[in-house]
Amino acid sequence: MTAIGSARSDAPTGLRRVAGRLRADRWATTGLVVIGLFVLAAVFAGPLTAISGQNPYTYHLDRLDDSGSPLGFGGGISPTHWFGVEPLTGRDLFAIVVFGSRTSLLVSVSATVLAVVVGVLVGITTGFFGGWYDRTLSRVIDVLFGFPSLVFMISLTAIVPTSFPKPLLIILVIGFFGWPSIARVVRGQTLSLRERNFVVASNAMGGGPWHIIAHQVLPNVSATIIVFATISIPSMIGVEAALSFLGVGVPPPTPSWGRTIGDAVTWVQTDPSYLVFPGAALFLVTLAFNVVGDGLRDALDPRRGVVSR
């Protein structure tokens, strides 16, 4: 008990130790590099696609035959079109994948932030205050867990007026269904922390509830929150791709991996590379986040630390 408390009390050492453990984990390092590359691609999508003089919106009908399928090897791969071109439009597939990472990362990270903020707030307060407030919100969490969220998201995105910005709507909807799991974990940790000596002591010395939450409880659940956020990003990416795949994601022509994959499925026999590139991008980025999340969990796990040292 006190071991954990003391480990948390000198945070810089803790962080440095976590970073050291992460560096030693080859998989996690690779994952971090991959994530870094995707983030860079998303941020510098414009300059990156400008190298080959492309953007995801310009049509190149001269790259297509008269039935709309790309001319040339691998879906029209060429020095100017690195991943080939999109059937029926001739738009540059590399530009679509690169700009698609922007959509994916923006939506997933924003939705995760929303889910974590709401989840931590609800988790800590329900765990700390208990009583009818805890019972009510815990039932709400139970309901949300059993809720057919994907079906609800599809119907919601279909009925909201088209004037409401779609990306914001998707962030709100995905974030809304993301918070219950983190709230439940944080609540569990808070429940046990509440009985610890340092919390009781702080209370006895006259610390108010919000002071205790902010200075005693929150720092001690931060490791959990970090791991949880990292692990939930890929699932958010997956949900965004699923919504786009089902035709209720961000509206075209904004590139989105899920929609491109959905369109490409029917082309898999004639133009497989149309499916391969966005599919590989989606696979790599979700895998990387999962690997990093696992690595972080291991690095932050005090028991593992004891064993390994």
């Binding site: 919106y57 310009t58 049509y59 009908l61 297509l64 035959d65 008269d66 039935s67 709309g68 399928s69 059937p87 029926l88 439009t89 001739g90 279909a158 088209t162 035709g247 209720v248 509206p251 075209p252 022509p253 959905g262 369109d263 499925v265 029917t266 082309w267 026999q269 004639t270 133009d271």
Partner: protein, 552 residues
């Protein structure tokens, strides 16, 4: 009206089980019909309602196998569609200058239960199509029959006086005005006989009393509809139905691309099957690379019109110069490629579609294959809209429609017009596009005429009486001069004179630029290797179900 428009649109969207056809298999010939076997039809529909009053089926598809009408269509490969007698002995005898139409039934006609078909059964069939609980069917006749506007069907006990049955064999229709195309109207599903004693409006569509060569053996919604022979049907009284297979199975809820894959591989059951949905761009590209599958493809001639409707009652689009600018700015080449290229259609410039008698080709806005951006920009400048014009485009939420919408979007973007795509699912799309209050600037729409007359190209889409309330004047176009032309052409009983009037209306409407004609769609259907005499004629752009047979 609403129903009629939806029928046309849905046919193109391939969401209803309406049939299609193609012409390339004509070589198989119509010579000898082999009897026997089970024909399977793969359809994406999740529900097949066989109630004639609720149906927008073409005369040559599903309902045509089960229910005969007063007249029907004779559809053959390479020949224009003609209207021929079905239950009646002629296609109708006009009197009173085209306001009264008389039909006489053939001898010895029987329902599947062995009872005789009388003119009272046909009168009852038409009457029930007026009732409010049976909505969704083709409704051309409802405004044409005297008293039709205030009639609400036979279930409240009243009859429609403008349909007379002087004897069990003859039936007389009294119209509000002369109507030269009445023989085509009498081929619509509502003109099938329905015995009053067997009618229950809630369930009749499950298992109607058959008059055609097939009757329902089982009908499991969402799964399969199985038809077997109706032994009371006689080939002697029927000139258009061949009734080759012993039974016909409609397999429902089939994903179009999965169905296309199994038809391409042509294995097992699918040898004796065909797809009711036309192929998408990806499948078409795949079939074109596979000679064995390509030989089994039937493609229609350029037919149904796809167009961009400009909401003429809204904002900047009220200005004729802005609409003309859109005519020039749209990239029709990109649109055509997005729909599947040359195999999927031809660029359109007129409203009357190819294959319709009396069509005159013209192009009021010649702009080259991919538009004339300079001209568009100068027209926009003239209208004071040279920058910042922003429009919403209402479109169906499926991959094909979105690809087409993006082609439009990038085309007009070149002229500085920003288009926001508003994808909507099928139900919302049609209800929003045909609603009385419009919330869109542009809409991507398509239209297959319900019968092969220019009337069906023009009136439902451009008459001012067809705006809102579920009707299909999606451009919300209203011009008294055009309304007068339509009224004149409709009343004209002389076909040549009527055709000239329709062609004049076509050009007059395009002068006001309420729509941008995009393409005349070609629809391609794939059959299994054992299906014989599978073709798509020039009209309609769907295969003829009635003449199919199976190889041994």
């Amino acid at each position: 009206m609403k129903n009629l428009t939806r029928a046309g649109i849905i046919a193109i969207a391939a969401t209803l089980l309406i049939t299609g056809c193609s012409s390339t298999t004509g070589a198989a010939g119509t010579a000898v019909t082999n009897k026997g076997g089970t024909l399977t039809i793969l359809t994406p529909s999740t529900k097949i309602d066989l109630d004639p009053a609720k149906s927008q089926n073409l005369a040559i598809t599903t309902l045509g196998l089960i229910e005969r009408r007063l007249t029907t269509w004779d559809i053959r490969a390479g020949r224009p569609a003609t209207v021929v007698p079905d239950l009646a002995t002629t296609t109708g005898t006009p009197s009173d200058g085209g306001k009264t139409w008389t039909f006489t039934l053939k001898d010895g006609l029987k329902f599947a239960d062995g009872s005789a078909i009388t003119s009272a059964d046909i009168k009852y069939g038409v009457e029930r199509s007026f009732s409010d609980e049976l909505s969704g069917g083709l409704s051309y006749h409802k405004s044409l029959l005297v008293g039709g506007a205030d009639y609400h069907g036979p279930y409240s006990g009243s009859a429609l006086a403008s349909i007379e049955t002087p004897s069990p064999k003859s039936i007389v229709f009294h119209l509000t005005g002369a109507y030269g195309d009445w023989p085509w109207i009498a081929s619509m599903p509502a003109f099938s006989p329905v015995p009053q004693a067997k009618d229950n409006p809630a369930t009749y569509g499950q298992d109607p009393v058959a008059s055609g060569p097939y009757k329902v053996a089982s009908n499991k919604q969402g799964t399969a509809l199985t038809l077997t022979r109706n032994t009371y049907w006689s080939a002697k009284s029927d000139t258009v139905r061949v009734a080759g297979p012993d039974s016909v199975v409609f397999r429902m809820s089939q994903d179009p691309s999965t169905a296309a894959q199994s038809l391409i591989s042509d294995a097992g059951d699918t040898k004796a099957a065909f797809g009711a949905a036309f192929l998408g761009a990806a499948q078409l590209a795949q079939v074109n690379r596979d000679p064995a599958a390509k030989a089994r493809l039937a493609t229609s001639q350029a037919g149904p019109l796809s167009y961009l409707a400009l909401n003429t009652q809204r904002g900047a689009l009220k200005n004729l110069d802005v609409r003309k600018a859109l005519e020039y700015a749209v990239d029709k080449k990109a649109y055509l490629i997005a729909s599947g290229g040359a195999a999927a259609g031809e660029t359109a410039t007129t409203l009357i579609t190819p294959g319709i008698a009396g069509r005159q080709a013209y192009d009021l806005y010649p702009a080259g294959a991919d538009g004339d951006v300079k001209k568009a920009k100068s027209l926009l400048a003239k209208a004071g809209q040279s920058s910042g014009l922003s429009l919403t485009l209402l479109v169906l939420n499926d991959a094909t429609s979105l690809a087409k919408a993006q082609a439009i979007q990038q085309g007009v973007q070149r002229a500085g017009i920003t288009v926001t795509i508003a994808p909507e699912d099928e139900n919302s799309f049609y209800s929003d596009a045909t609603a009385t209050d419009a919330n869109y600037d542009l809409a991507l729409y398509s239209w297959q005429p319900d019968f092969p007359s220019a009337n069906s190209n023009i009136q439902p889409l451009f008459a001012s009486s067809e705006i809102g309330d579920g009707r299909n004047n999606v451009a919300r176009y209203s011009n008294p001069e055009v309304d007068a032309l339509i009224a004149m052409a409709t009343a004209e009983v002389d076909q040549k004179a009527a055709q000239a009037l329709w062609a004049k209306a076509d050009k007059r409407i395009m002068q006001d630029a309420p729509v941008v004609p995009l393409s005349y769609a070609k629809q391609s259907f794939l059959r299994g290797s054992k299906v014989k005499n599978f073709f798509v004629a020039s009209f309609p752009a769907y295969p003829n179900y009635l003449t199919l047979s199976l190889a041994k």
